[in-house]
Each structure stands twice: as structure tokens, then as C-alpha cells.
Amino acid sequence: MSSRTTDEKLVYMANQIATFFESQAEGTRAQRVAEHLRSFWEPRMRDRLFEMMDRGEADDLKPLARKGAEIWRAHGQAVPAHSEEE
């Protein structure tokens, strides 16, 4: 709600993305969360999310969201380019 902070929103949005991919076929879910984040999130959002994860401030992250974020962080640029156009 309007009282939500940016931090809360970041976690919320990551979870929303994870929720969608949770329903998709198994196997590539976390990878697809990572791709989605990489395609749409601006670096300061990304950096803040990683920072929160490191500081234990992102406990509300769903496991799949966390996994996706970790793949993103680990692979950095290596996650394949992906856009709305596919």
C-alpha cells in the first residue's frame, strides 16, 4: 500500500514474479525468474535487493525468488538476453 517502502516493494515484486514462474513447467523456473529480473530491473533495484539479501533483510522473499536472484547475481551478464520480443 502507499505505506509500503521501496524495500518492501522490491521483495513484493520479486515474489510476484516468482509466483508466476512457480506455475510454469518445472526445470527452468529459477532461471526464468533470473531472466525476467535481468530484463526489467534497473541496477539500483537489483543492487538494493542483493544488499537486503546479504543483510538478512529480505526474509520475506519466496524461495524461488531468492533462487532466481542468486542465479542472476552469480551469472551477472551471462544470463541470456531476453526481451518482450523474445
Partner: protein, 983 residues
């Protein structure tokens, strides 16, 4: 009119697309017939009228009751001809051609007959031609000339035109004889209740063209001919109705059709007839109607729909046709203004000073807070060329990807959903396609209000027998209107689109109604298998989701069967689909449905997003989104970046920029400090107003470029006056991907077209741009963006318009997409799991609010509120079901308090069963209501498109504006003070 600056249309050898009225509609038959008319041979499609065949030869048979956009009626008898071997003198408008027919259009017998007919007409027509509003533009006058009428032998007797009843031959004479009295029972005074046109029954020849235009073209059925013979009159509804109280929606079709001054634009009466016309494109909605801007000098006399416009085919709605008055409104700001802080009044300054102030501040912010601390918002109301420049400003001049557009808040899920499934972010059809549809599904859209001209075309098709399915929480007009009735209306609970669409797919899959051959040849079979497994689960059955969606299972089953088996099935959808936390998922679900049933890749089918603003499609195409360069190519692609880098001579950022909500969050957090916002009013149009206000207030430099001091400008430091669509050249791209020309008809009142202002600012920040005409910008777009490769102003002059992709593969554009294969290769089925929004009703907020728009107003209303259109909609009202109103003690017209977890506002209630119990509805056209104070910051999971369509609210009686409304009003007033420049 003499000097028509109307473009040529090459193919078919038709040459100049002039406005000649061919008398009757074209026949679509493929068989032809050859005949002789006045000694000339002509070959025309079977079913063509003799009148039209003559017109093809350039022979104009006199006519009054016929016009080529309505069916022939045969009432005036002016168009009689002689046909060898046939008796009598048949009317050429109602007589079809036949092989070998020999026709004479001008014989002494015919001439005599025609004169007689004209004489009768004129005997009951006032001889006031010289002072008549239609003088010079009147078919009755023209026909009197054409038939050589030289004398009227009837003595004045019973007539409709003379109020005095003294036998006067003109109204001027009647007024001299008796200035006040109405002594003639047959005389009816003028009805000038409509703000834009008058109805003067004394000049009516009862040709019924207006009635037929209203029925056949517009589909409103507002007019009838009452009475018989001498007593017959055109009437707008009931006896006591005038145009304003009738069902008339002021589309102007009847005015266009009327051959006399009976129905006449007030602007023509006021100004006089136009002397030139320029073809341009409506700047209101995504239908993108073509208009003639009819001018006298540099004064706009009227806008009339352009017959050869491929989106509108000669029709219009009240907005494009009449609501252009805002362009000359006194509220328009014509001088640049600046101020140090938003508490100060505005100071009018020169363009140089304003631009240099803005550039210095923006660069200062970047020095202090970093390259990524500023950004832009492009406008879906501006041209493609202007939008392209604004995103270029962010990428090439600011050096970041912080560019977003108002499409974020409307159709961004369309981009994502159709991109994922089909590979392209756009609708699949042209508007003509609806003429071949057998079943039309309208989901979360209200075309009669939002996309009126498309609605008229759709209704025409429905009257001809196509079936309609409406999926919408409200009983929109299409569900039941004259001669149109939906086969199924699925009144779902707001927020349950995914469940409904998935249940439809469940029925299609489990009942074996899918098109296996299509899926095998066109789609990814493995993904299809996975999808089938998913949708076939019992939990997606209509019966299983009925409690959740509120849609009766049997009705849903029938609707799904009809769509799957009823022939060509087309889906049209609007913001009721996208503006949800699952907006993208619903778009995917819709795309799945079309693939399942093979309804893709030919006429009459497809998936069609109805775009809100005029250039939403274009602003997305032009690279307004922070993650995509023009043509929907991700910024991470180095080959794509290189194209622009070498042309612009800069290094481009390879990471996505901030989207609007992210910009506002970053502003509140202190890392985003400067915004250049062209032609958008995010404070009024974006959700959660308080958060938007906080974000804007936290910035050091907000530059607003607009026609008016909009709500966002209350938080701005620089105001750059904008220009209207009448004052600049460019292009708009409508919902069919059609690139239409916008042509300058008058000089910009503010001094510069919007693209010039952007260039000034870019250059003040070191951009080094040198555009001298928008055509050069389009050339750059074509050079960098494959789907626009062949687009040029020359091509647009030649063709009138083209639909992208327009490149070597399809040099003249692409009306229908995915004909032989999907853009992405194989169509991709994606699972669509329903996830309930977190915006939930509960004891404190038990009702669901959903929002929308109405016909006469447009978006935040900045333009339409400054026209007479407000007569139809003076304020936003809250629709509430009688049951919900009663339990709250709310009566019709009462002021009510509308509260959500975000905020509260107050407005008047309208009690109606259009909305279901538990659902309330309002529009967001008026800043005083601030409906977005109520909406929340929930948004689509994939694109952050705000969830406008579902907010849990409570409604209670109230006696006036809320505290927020009062404070806001005071702040707005404070913020709008202007100190004029010293003389």
C-alpha cells in the same frame, strides 16, 4: 471548396482520392457487369447501382436522398433515368446494373420530371440562401442548379418554413412581417441544444439521410421520421426530446449526411464555409481516425471524417469531430516559465532562458547525484517522431535508459504477453478485419465509449449477424443496445480475468474443440502438451471457478463453445484486461485461446488490443520503455546498441532503466532527482496520487511540457508550452499498427512544435541535433528499426497510411500479422495460473472499485474538459448497485465518501444496476475527484502496470469534499500563480 490538400493514393489507378459522393455503397461482388451509360461503356461489380456506375464514368446523376455511405432509399425521385427496353423512369440509386443495359441519364422527359421534383422541394423551402449557413455547401442548392430550376410556380401555401404564417417566401421576410409570432402550426423552431450543431426543421427535405446515417453508420438509432406525408419530420426520440436529451451521442454522422442546412455545424454558421482542407489524424484515441481539417485562412472551421481514412472509413466520434476547441482555449500556456522552488509563483521567461535553466539544472543534478539520477517520460499523445526524440534524449544525451511512457499504466502487459506468445507487441489485425468476423469476444473493454468508431464498425457487423460475447464486470452498452445483443455476457468479479479465460480454455480443451491441425503446424507442440495438461485440470473447470469469478458455469461453457466453433473468432480487449496484478497473464491467456482455436493469421480473427491513447502503439514502438530500444529490442543486445551508437556517436547503457513507478520510488529514496515529462500528467493519471506527489516533490528539477498547467506541473520547476496536433507535422500509430500522418494546419501558437522544443533542450545539454523537419526523424527511425525500414513520408503521402512491419519483406506494410507463421517462429502456449490479487475486500473495505472512461471525455480530461464535451459529463460519478446504495443509505445524486486503504475522495453517486452488487465504478476525467487517490500501488507482476481495475473500497454518505481534495485544491491554486514577464 477549392484547394484540397489531400494526398494521392496510387494503386488501382484511382488517382486523387477526392470526396466525390458515388451515390451508393460499393458492391463487394467479384463478378462484373458491363453496360452503356450515355453512350459510354462501363464495367462494374455486379450489384452496383446505375447511379454508382454513372459516377464511375464521371456522370453525376442528380440526387438528394442517396449517399455512398448509406443504403439507397429511393425517396426523392431526383435521380430518375431511362433504361432502354424498360418502362417508366426508374430511380438510378435503387436500380442495380444489368449486363448489356443501356441507360440515358439526361433526356427531355427526365429533365422535366426532375425540374418538377425540385420545384416541389423548393416550394416548401425558404429562399434565404444568401444568409444560410450552408450557402455554397448545400446539395439542394446544387441540385436546383443541376436540374436548371428557373421558376417555382406554386403560390405560397402550407409550408414548414414561415413562422409568421403570412405567406412569406423567406424567413427574413417572415420576420419583417411578424418578428415574434409563430402562427404556423407546421413551423418548428430550431433545436440548438447540441453544443456543436443545430437542427433547423424549417429547412428539412425529409430525405432521411440523417436517420440512415445514425442507424447504419453510427448504429445509435437516435433519429426517426415521425408522421406521414406533409407532416413527416425528423425527430430525435420522443416528441419532447431535443438532441441533447435524446440518445444522440453527437458523432456527427447525420450532420455529415444532411444535404441541406437542416443539420449544420455551429462553427460553420459562425465562421462561414471553409476554403481548404488538410488531411490529418485525430489526436484522441487509438482508433486513429483520419479527418479533414477544414480551414478558412488559419482558422479551423470544422473537422470532418475523411472518407478514405483506412481506420475509420469516413466515420467519427464526438471527440475527434467536435472536441478540438481546447487548441484555442484561454488556459493554454504559450510562454515558457520557470521557478526555483515549487512554492514560488511561475515566472514567464524567454525560450532561451527556460531552456538554459532546465539544461543547467539537469546537468547539475547529474554532477551531484550521478548519470542515472534523471530521466524522461514520453507521451502517447505526441507523435512518433517526438517520442523517438525524447527517448533518444535519455539514452544519448542523459546517458542512461531512464525512459518510460504512459503505456506503462495501460498496455505494457500487452507488450509482454503478446511478445512472449507470438513474438510481437501488437495487435494482429486491421480494423477492416471485423467485417469478416463471425464471433467477437470483447474482454475488459467498452468500445462504444472508449473506441467509438471501432464500436460502430463492430455493431454494423453484429447487426449483419455476427455473434457477440462480452466479458466485463459491468453491463456495458454493447451488451444490449438497439439491434445488438450479446449472445453471452460474463459479468465476472473484477480481478478474476485469468480464472475466466483459463476456464474457457478448459472447456475448449476438455470438450475437444481445439484446432489440432493449426496447433501442430503453427505452435510448439511440446509446450501445447504441457499447457493441455495444465488447463485440463478439474480446478480450472467453469463449475470449479464459478464461486470465485461469479460467472455462471453454464454461461461460460456456452461462450467458450461459441468462440471455438462459431466460425471466425476475434478477440478485442482493453484496459480491463491489462490493468491488473495479473494483466500480463490474462494477455497470455487470450493469446492461448486464439492459438487453441486457430483464430490467428487471416481476416476476421485475431487478438486485438484496443489502445487507449492515440499513439500508445507508436510510443511503445519508438523505444519509450526503459529496457527496449526502438522496435522492441532489449538494451542488452550489443548489435542493436551498436546500430544506434554509431549513428548517435555515443556509448549506450546496456542495462534497463527505471520504469515510472521505480522512478517515483527512487525519487522518494533520494537517488532520482530530475524528470523531463512531455505531454503526460502522471499526477492525475497514475495510481496512488499521494505517492506520485511525494516522488515529484522530492525532485530538484521537474520539466513539464504540456498545453496546460496540468496537475503534474504543480510540482514542476520548468514549464515548456506544448503544441497541439494541429500545429505540427508527424505521425501517429493506431491500434492496428497503422502509421498515419499528422499534418500541420496552422503555426504553433507557442512558437515551436514539440519536437523542436526537445531538440532545443537536447542541444542545450550538448546533444548537437540538427533536425529541420520530422521527416528526417522518421528517416532515422527507418534506418535503425527493421520493422520501419521502408516507412518514409513519401510512402505515407503515396499510400495515405501503412501498417508496420513495413520493410523489404512487405514493402507496403502488413495489415494482418502471423499469416504463415508467428513472428517468433512457433506460437508458444504458456500456463496461466490464477493468482488472487492482494488487494482484498474485507469488513473495512467491502466493495470493489473498478475504473473506466466515458465517450465524451478523454483520459485525464485536460483537452475534453476544455470543450463543450463537458456538457455530457461535468463530473466523475460513482456507479453503485441499488442494493449496495440502500444498505448504506445512499440516494441517487448524493455526495458520497469513497475510501480505500490508499486514501479517500468524494463524488456523487449514481444508482444503477449496470454494476453488480459489490462492485462500484467511476471514471478519472476530473482532477477535482482525483480517483487515483483511491487506487493502490499494486501492479502487474511482469510489467508494473498498475492495478487500476481493482481496489477494495467503502462508500458512505458524505457532505462534501474530503480533506485531501480541499488541501489539494488550495495547493494547486497556490502552485498555479504566474508572474508575467516584464514588458
Amino acid at each position: 471548396m477549392k484547394d484540397f490538400l489531400i494526398p494521392f493514393d496510387g494503386p488501382g489507378g484511382t488517382g486523387l482520392h477526392d470526396d466525390t459522393d458515388m451515390g451508393t455503397p460499393a458492391s463487394t461482388s467479384t463478378r462484373t457487369v458491363t453496360l452503356r451509360i450515355d453512350g459510354f461503356e462501363v464495367t462494374v461489380p455486379e450489384g452496383t447501382s446505375v447511379m454508382r456506375a454513372s459516377a464511375e464514368l464521371g456522370i453525376e446523376v442528380p440526387k438528394l436522398c442517396a449517399s455512398d455511405n448509406i443504403e439507397a432509399f429511393g425517396s426523392c425521385r431526383l435521380c430518375v433515368v431511362e433504361i432502354e427496353g424498360r418502362r417508366g423512369t426508374p430511380a438510378s440509386c435503387t436500380t442495380p446494373v444489368a449486363e448489356g443495359m443501356v441507360v440515358h441519364t439526361q433526356t427531355s422527359r427526365i429533365k422535366k420530371l426532375r425540374r418538377g421534383v425540385m420545384e416541389l422541394y423548393i416550394s416548401d423551402h425558404p429562399l434565404d440562401c444568401l444568409t444560410c449557413g450552408a450557402n455554397g455547401d448545400c446539395e439542394l442548392q446544387d441540385m436546383a442548379g443541376a436540374v436548371g430550376l428557373r421558376d417555382v410556380r406554386y403560390t405560397p401555401g402550407d409550408n414548414h418554413y414561415d413562422p409568421s404564417g403570412t405567406g412569406a417566401r423567406s424567413q427574413a421576410e417572415a420576420r419583417l412581417r411578424d418578428p415574434v409570432g409563430i402562427n404556423n402550426p407546421q413551423f418548428l423552431p430550431k433545436d440548438d441544444s447540441n453544443p456543436y450543431f443545430t437542427y433547423d426543421p424549417s429547412k428539412c427535405i425529409v430525405c432521411s439521410r440523417c436517420v440512415r446515417a445514425c442507424d447504419e453508420v453510427q448504429g445509435t438509432f437516435a433519429l426517426t421520421i415521425e408522421g406521414r406525408g406533409f407532416d413527416s419530420r425528423v425527430s430525435a426520440g420522443m416528441k419532447l426530446d431535443d438532441f441533447m436529451t435524446s440518445d444522440c451521442v453527437s458523432c456527427g454522422a447525420c450532420v455529415q449526411a444532411c444535404p441541406t442546412a437542416t443539420l449544420q455545424e455551429k462553427s460553420v454558421i459562425e465562421i462561414g464555409t471553409p476554403d481548404r482542407a488538410v488531411v490529418t489524424t485525430c489526436a484522441y484515441c487509438g482508433v486513429g481516425c483520419s479527418f479533414k481539417a477544414e480551414m478558412r485562412g488559419d482558422e479551423l472551421v470544422r473537422m470532418t471524417p475523411y472518407k478514405h481514412g483506412k481506420a475509420n472509413r469516413g466515420h467519427s466520434c464526438v471527440k475527434g469531430r467536435f472536441a478540438y476547441g481546447y487548441a484555442a482555449h484561454q488556459d493554454r500556456i504559450l510562454n515558457p516559465m520557470i521557478r526555483d522552488t515549487i512554492e514560488e509563483p511561475w515566472r514567464e521567461v524567454s525560450w532561451e532562458e527556460a531552456i538554459s535553466f532546465a539544461a543547467t539544472r539537469m546537468r547539475g543534478i547529474q554532477e551531484q547525484y550521478g548519470k542515472k539520477s534523471i530521466g524522461v517520460i514520453t507521451s502517447s499523445r505526441c507523435t512518433n517522431e517526438e517520442t523517438y526524440l525524447v527517448q533518444k534524449m535519455a539514452r544519448a544525451v542523459f546517458g542512461n535508459n531512464n525512459t518510460d511512457t504512459c503505456a506503462r499504466v495501460c498496455h505494457s502487459p500487452t507488450g509482454y504477453g503478446l511478445g512472449q506468445t507470438y513474438g510481437t507487441s501488437a495487435g494482429t489485425q486491421d480494423f477492416d478485419s471485423v467485417e469478416d468476423s463471425d464471433v467477437v469476444v470483447v474482454i475488459g473493454a467498452n468500445p462504444t465509449d472508449g473506441h467509438p468508431v471501432f464500436a460502430s464498425r463492430l455493431k454494423k457487423r453484429l447487426r449483419a449477424g455476427a455473434k457477440l460475447i462480452v466479458v466485463d464486470p459491468r453491463r456495458i452498452d454493447l451488451v444490449k443496445s438497439p439491434h445488438v445483443e450479446a449472445a453471452h455476457h460474463l459479468p465476472l468479479r473484477p480481478g478474476t480475468n485469468v480464472a475466466v479465460v483459463t476456464a474457457m480454455a478448459h472447456v475448449i480443451v476438455t470438450e475437444g474443440l481445439y484446432d489440432e491441425e493449426f496447433i501442430r503446424t503453427r505452435c510448439d507442440w511440446e509446450e501445447f502438451q504441457d499447457y493441455v495438461e495444465f488447463v485440463a485440470e478439474e480446478r480450472h473447470a467453469p463449475e470449479a471457478v464459478e464461486m470465485l469469478t461469479g460467472v455462471p458455469a453454464e454461461e461460460l461453457r456456452k461462450a467458450a463453445r461459441l468462440y471455438a466453433t462459431g466460425g471466425n473468432g476475434a478477440i478485442y480487449y482493453g484496459l480491463g484486461v491489462t490493468e491488473h496484478s495479473q494483466g500480463s497473464t490474462t494477455v497470455i491467456g487470450i493469446a492461448n485461446l486464439a492459438m487453441l482455436t486457430g483464430n490467428i493469421g487471416r481476416k476476421g480473427v485475431g487478438v486485438n488490443p484496443l489502445r487507449g491513447q492515440n499513439n500508445v502503439q507508436g510510443s511503445c514502438d519508438m523505444g519509450s520503455f526503459p529496457h527496449e530500444l526502438p522496435g522492441y529490442r532489449h538494451v542488452s543486445g550489443s548489435e542493436v546498441r551498436e546500430v544506434f551508437e554509431s549513428l548517435w556517436n555515443v556509448k549506450l547503457d546496456h542495462e534497463p532503466g527505471l520504469r515510472i513507478p521505480n522512478m517515483l520510488d527512487a525519487a522518494v529514496d533520494g537517488s532520482f532527482k530530475g524528470l523531463y515529462c512531455q505531454g503526460e500528467d502522471i499526477l492525475q493519471s497514475d495510481p496512488d496520487t499521494k505517492h506520485v506527489a511525494a516522488g515529484l516533490a522530492a525532485m530538484d528539477c521537474v520539466i513539464v511540457q504540456d498545453l496546460f498547467l496540468n496537475e503534474t506541473a504543480n510540482y514542476a520547476h520548468v514549464f515548456l508550452p506544448g503544441s497541439t496536433f494541429l500545429e505540427k507535422d508527424g505521425t501517429f500509430t493506431n491500434a492496428e499498427r497503422r502509421i498515419n500522418r499528422v499534418r500541420r494546419v496552422m503555426a504553433p501558437k507557442n512558437g515551436y512544435a514539440d519536437w523542436e522544443v526537445t531538440q532545443l533542450l537536447a542541444n542545450a545539454m550538448g546533444g548537437g541535433w540538427t533536425y529541420t523537419h520530422p521527416a528526417q526523424i522518421m528517416a532515422e527511425i527507418a534506418a535503425t528499426t527493421p520493422s520501419f525500414a521502408n516507412v518514409s513520408y513519401e510512402l505515407l503521402e503515396e499510400k495515405g497510411s501503412v501498417q508496420w512491419p513495413c520493410n523489404d519483406a512487405s514493402p507496403e506494410g502488413t495489415p494482418l500479422m502471423h499469416i504463415d507463421g508467428f513472428v517468433r517462429g512457433r506460437g508458444r502456449f504458456i500456463r496461466t495460473e490464477y493468482v488472487a490479487t492482494d488487494e482484498k475486500t474485507g469488513p473495512r473495505f467491502p466493495l470493489l472499485l473498478t475504473t473506466g472512461r466515458i465517450l465524451s471525455q478523454y483520459n485525464v480530461g485536460a483537452q475534453t474538459r476544455r470543450t463543450e464535451n463537458s456538457r455530457w459529463h461535468e463530473e466523475d460519478v460513482l456507479e453503485i448497485h441499488p442494493h449496495d446504495a440502500e444498505t448504506r443509505g445512499v440516494r441517487d445524486g448524493d455526495y458520497v465518501r469513497l475510501a480505500s486503504r490508499s486514501g479517500e475522495t468524494s463524488l456523487r453517486a449514481e444508482i444503477t444496476d449496470r454494476v453488480s452488487p459489490g462492485v462500484v465504478y467511476t471514471t478519472f476525467h476530473h482532477p477535482t475527484t482525483q480517483a487515483n487517490v483511491i487506487t493502490t500501488d499494486f501492479s502487474d507482476w511482469a510489467t508494473n502496470c498498475p492495478e487500476y481495475k481493482v481496489t477494495a473500497v467503502q462508500v458512505s454518505p458524505s457532505n462534501g469534499p474530503s480533506d485531501w481534495q480541499r488541501d489539494y485544491e488550495a495547493q494547486a491554486e497556490q502552485s498555479r500563480r504566474i508572474l508575467p514577464a516584464a514588458e
